[in-house]
Every structure is written in C-alpha cells, then in structure tokens.
C-alpha cells in the first residue's frame, strides 16, 4: 500500500477522544538539546514550487517533520527553517506533491548529535 500522492492524498482523522489525549508540545523546547553547525550561506532544503503548497489541502509537512522545520507564515506561505533540520529525510519522501527539494548539507554542516 503506497501513500496516495498529489491531489489524491487524503488526510485521516483519529477519533476525537483519542486526539484530545495528545499533549501540545513546543518543539523549540526540544531543539535546545541539539547541536548544529549551521550553513549560513545555503539551505539544503527548499520548496520547489510555492504555488503547489497552496493547492495542498492537508499540508502534512507542518506536522510530521520531527523538528518542526516547516511552518506557515501570516500569509499562509510555508516557511523552511532548515537550520533545525536533523536530516532524517521524511519531508523528501512524504510530501504528497514531492514538492520539497532536499539534499545533504555541505560536508561538516548540519546536525551534530552529541549522544545519538
């Protein structure tokens, strides 16, 4: 079973009584535990076609990214905080429109786990 892509992607809902058991967490409280060597010159993540995100009804990247790289700005545009990326690759493969450009950070840059 493959995940449906593009306009065929369908968001699913948990029962309300299950959903309300999930606590709200601010990911920044977790990110302070991580060490990064941020590449100030170039991002290794990018939105290929911003227009495509407008068409994307469910915008799952806002949720599944484990470090909250993707957020919506006031105008409803997707912002990419690549500095927080842990290079897991989820967004590269799970964006329903395959609209996220992804490459490895330049050598020496990016996340540097201290424990792993």
């Amino acid at each position: 079973m493959a995940m449906k892509r593009g306009d065929a992607f369908v968001g699913k809902e948990l029962p309300e009584e299950v959903k309300k058991t999930i606590p709200r967490v601010y990911v920044d409280d977790l990110l302070i535990s991580l060490k990064y060597y941020v590449d100030e010159e170039q991002s290794h993540l990018w939105i290929k076609e911003p227009e495509t995100c407008n068409r994307c009804q469910y915008k799952p990247c806002l949720s599944f990214c484990p470090v909250g790289v993707y957020t919506l700005d006031n105008e409803g545009k997707i912002q990419v905080a690549y500095q927080a990326c842990v290079e897991c690759g989820s967004c590269r493969v799970a964006c329903p429109y395959n609209n996220i450009g992804w490459k490895l950070p330049r050598g020496g840059f990016g996340v540097a786990y201290k424990f792993g």
Partner: protein, 439 residues
C-alpha cells in the same frame, strides 16, 4: 594539471557498516579512503539502541581489549504491553542473556561510532571527514571508478566503492540500483529522547542490581494510538533512551507531530515514573528502512556495493540492523579484497558479495521476514487490541477473587471478543506466524 587522488577503495559514510568495511580492507593492506559528511563519525547517526557483540567480534576479535564505549549489557529484554493506564511486562533475564560478554550492549552512536572509525584508522584507513559525496565517477562502460565530493577539486578515484550512505540512499538511486525512492508506508520515523538520570536511580527504577545490568524492551500498545508503531526503552549507564517509531505514511496522513506522540508516551502513567525528574540530554529523529527484502536495491554493480541501511538491511520485528550493517560491511570488504588481489572489479566479481550475504543470517532472515512490515500495516490490532487485552485479562485474572472461576473466564473471553471476534483472533495469530516464519 594536478594529480588525481587515488585509493584502492573508497567507503562512503563512517557508520557501523562503513567503518567495518574500511577496517577489514585496510587490515588486508589496501589503501582505503573513509569519507564522512559529519564533523566526525557518529554525528549524523541516531538509533535505539543496541549493538551486537557477535557482529563486532567478527570484524574485531580483540574488541574487548580496545575498550569500546558501550553502555550496559542487555541482561533483560522483551516486550512491554501498554494498556490505557496499565502495563504488562513480558521480559526475560538470565539464561542466554547472562553470558559474558552479553550478546547486545546498549550504546550511544555519537560515542560508539568515533571509536569504531578509530579502529579502522588505526589499521591505516584514511578518514576524510566534513566531506559529502554527491556523485560517482564512471567509466564509459558504466563501471564505477570513483566519487565526486563537495570539496573543490573533490574527485577521488578508486576501482571499488562501498556505499554505506545510510537510509537516505540517494547515491544508490543515482547508480540505478533501485528505481524508486523510499516509500512512506515502508519507512518508520523513529524519534527518541536521551534522558539523564543518576545511575543508582536507573538501577532502582528498573530493578537492575548495578550498571553491569541493563534492559532493552519493545513497547506496544497505547502509545501508538492504535496505529502501526512501536516504542522502546533502553537503559544506558547514566541515561535512558526512550523513543518510538511510527510508519511515516501514518504520521503524514493523520498529521501527527512526532514530539507530541513521544511526550504522550512519556506521560503515560506507567512510563512517567521511570523518567521522572530526568533531564533531557538530546532529542532526535531518524528514518528506519522497514521495507526489508522487498525494498532492497540491487546490492552491487561494477565497482560498487551497497551495505547497511542504504540496502534496507533491517529486521523490524527484532530491532536488528546494526549487526547486519557491520557484517555486510565486512562481507563487502572481503569481496573488495578478492577483487583487489586479482584486479577484477567487474559486476561479476562484485556478485560474490551477494553470495556471501546468502551464506549468513542476513539475507536468509530478511527473506523469511519479507512479509512482516506489510503484516503490521494490515493487522494494526497487534498494536492496539491485543496489548490492551493482555492488560485487561491479567488485571481481571488477578483481581477477581471471590467470583466463580466460570465467571472470571467468561469475563476474560468477553474482554477479547468485545474487541476482536474469536475466529479473527485465531486468524491473526496464524497470519503473524506466517509473517514471521515466511510461510
């Protein structure tokens, strides 16, 4: 014109598989470049997790004299079944888990991997850190003859390249060894917290006599909200590794935030006391290729072989992967040594690598478990119905004194059949057996 940089072999990625391969080739006298994109080995690696001594020993027989930075031996292992507010533990200790050295040790990759790479360096492998490999150099006939890195004039030449690039196997795809990218339904996103606690406190909370004892458990049930996912708890010396893995398509479709699921798990009434007052040392996440046998790329081509996560060498049910990575690295290295000795790096010469893998548990197990990841996808009741049933059933069994036993057993049966008709439950068990036994 500057002279080309040449080695006998290039290894892409200094993880468990890559450093094993570099170590074996360097020890045989080959001139090996071990290229790592992190500032140092281990910096990009995140796992549960445990490392298996049988695999380390195969590559480095005297590893114990070299003081590997392992955490605790796994002397207790098993499953925990989380109910809504209960916990049933099914763990084993003693017996085979009591051997010295233990079969598995808990570990932290940012500590272990630099040591592992150092063992390769000590026998002559040349570590090139802070360098990302972005492409291959290929001869006119397609034979791999080197790699392109992101350094200026960053071409490195060698007649054989071992690709240990990890789960995001972009280079493997670039070589055409697999025709599709990772499928969200076949990868789990694993996320965990490393939580600091005093050693004594860990011993007390987990019933461990000292730091020469440790626990590794898979946790099923309430934490995954009825969706395909599993948790884990590993005891390190002075920290806990607590996390969970959920299939990526599920996270995307239900739009769940991994760190919120993890927080919910940590707040579970049976888990919270175990992590109470612990200090967050590190949060992180990593993909696990759970597609197994059916999602494996072709494992070799002329001048190149693929090992470890890049080749989907993971047995999801047993949390195995680190052992396969190390042994696959060794087998690829042995193939490279044979090729080096006769000067034949053709696709036919590289095919020996796959033959060697078939002689080990790696391909045998992966083939046997080929249906397992699909099995959980199709039988989510193993994540939800049964763990809850086990808690209710045992809870009932041990609290219903004073009731006629007939009534007790009726309640037990009711606790199951209200969730899953009996015939379906029997069918589930048969399907489970089929998925595990590979029938």
């Amino acid at each position: 014109m500057t002279e080309k940089i040449r080695f006998d072999a290039i290894v892409v990625g200094a993880g468990l598989a890559g450093s094993a391969a570099a170590m074996v080739m360097a020890r045989a006298g080959m001139n090996v470049a071990l290229v790592e994109r992190g500032k140092e080995p281990g910096g990009k690696n995140y796992f549960g997790g445990a490392i298996y001594t049988h695999a380390i020993e195969e590559v480095l027989p005297d590893y114990r004299d070299r003081r590997p930075p392992l955490e605790r031996p796994v002397t207790e292992a098993g499953f925990w079944f989380l109910g809504k507010d209960g916990l049933t533990k099914m763990t084993v200790q003693g017996g085979p888990l009591n051997r010295e050295p233990a079969d598995a040790y808990t570990a932290l990759r940012a500590h272990f991997d630099p040591w592992w790479a150092k063992q390769a360096q000590d026998v002559g492998a040349f570590l090139i850190p802070k360098t990302t490999v972005v492409d291959f150099i290929r001869a006119a006939d397609g034979q791999v003859i080197g790699v392109v890195t992101d350094r200026p004039q960053g071409e490195i030449y060698a007649p054989v390249v071992i690709i240990s690039e990890g789960v995001n196997n972009l280079l493997t795809q670039k070589l055409g060894l697999i025709d599709h990218d990772l499928e969200p339904a076949h990868v789990a996103l694993a996320f965990k917290q490393v939580i600091a606690l005093p050693m004594e406190e860990i011993n007390n909370r987990f019933g461990l006599p000292d730091d020469g004892h440790g626990l590794a458990v898979s946790v099923l049930g309430d934490l995954s909200l009825g969706l395909p996912g599993m948790g884990f708890v590993y005891t390190n010396k002075k920290s806990l590794s607590v996390g969970m893995g959920v299939m990526l398509d599920v996270l995307a479709e239900y739009r769940l935030k991994p760190y919120e699921l993890l927080q919910r798990y940590l707040q579970h009434p049976a888990i919270a006391p175990l992590v109470k007052d612990g200090q967050l040392l590190e949060y992180g996440a990593h993909l696990i290729p759970e597609g197994g046998y059916r999602d494996m790329p072709k494992l070799y081509t002329g001048g190149a072989m693929v090992v470890g996560d890049a080749a989907a060498m993971v047995n999801a049910l047993h949390w195995e992967g680190t052992n396969m990575a190390i042994i696959a690295g060794k087998l690829a290295a042995e193939t490279a040594i044979e090729a080096h000795n006769v000067g034949d790096f053709s696709e036919r010469a590289m095919a020996r690598y796959e033959e060697k893998l078939w002689d080990t548990f790696i391909l045998q197990d992966l083939k046997q478990y080929r249906n397992f990841s699909r099995f959980l996808e199709k039988h989510p009741q193993f994540m939800d119905v049964y763990p809850n049933f086990v808690n209710d059933a045992l809870g009932t069994f041990f609290t219903s004194y004073g009731k006629p036993k007939k009534e007790l057993f009726r309640e037990l049966k009711g606790a199951l059949t209200s969730r899953r008709p009996l015939l379906k439950a029997v069918g589930d068990m048969i399907s489970m057996a089929r998925a595990v036994m590979g029938w």
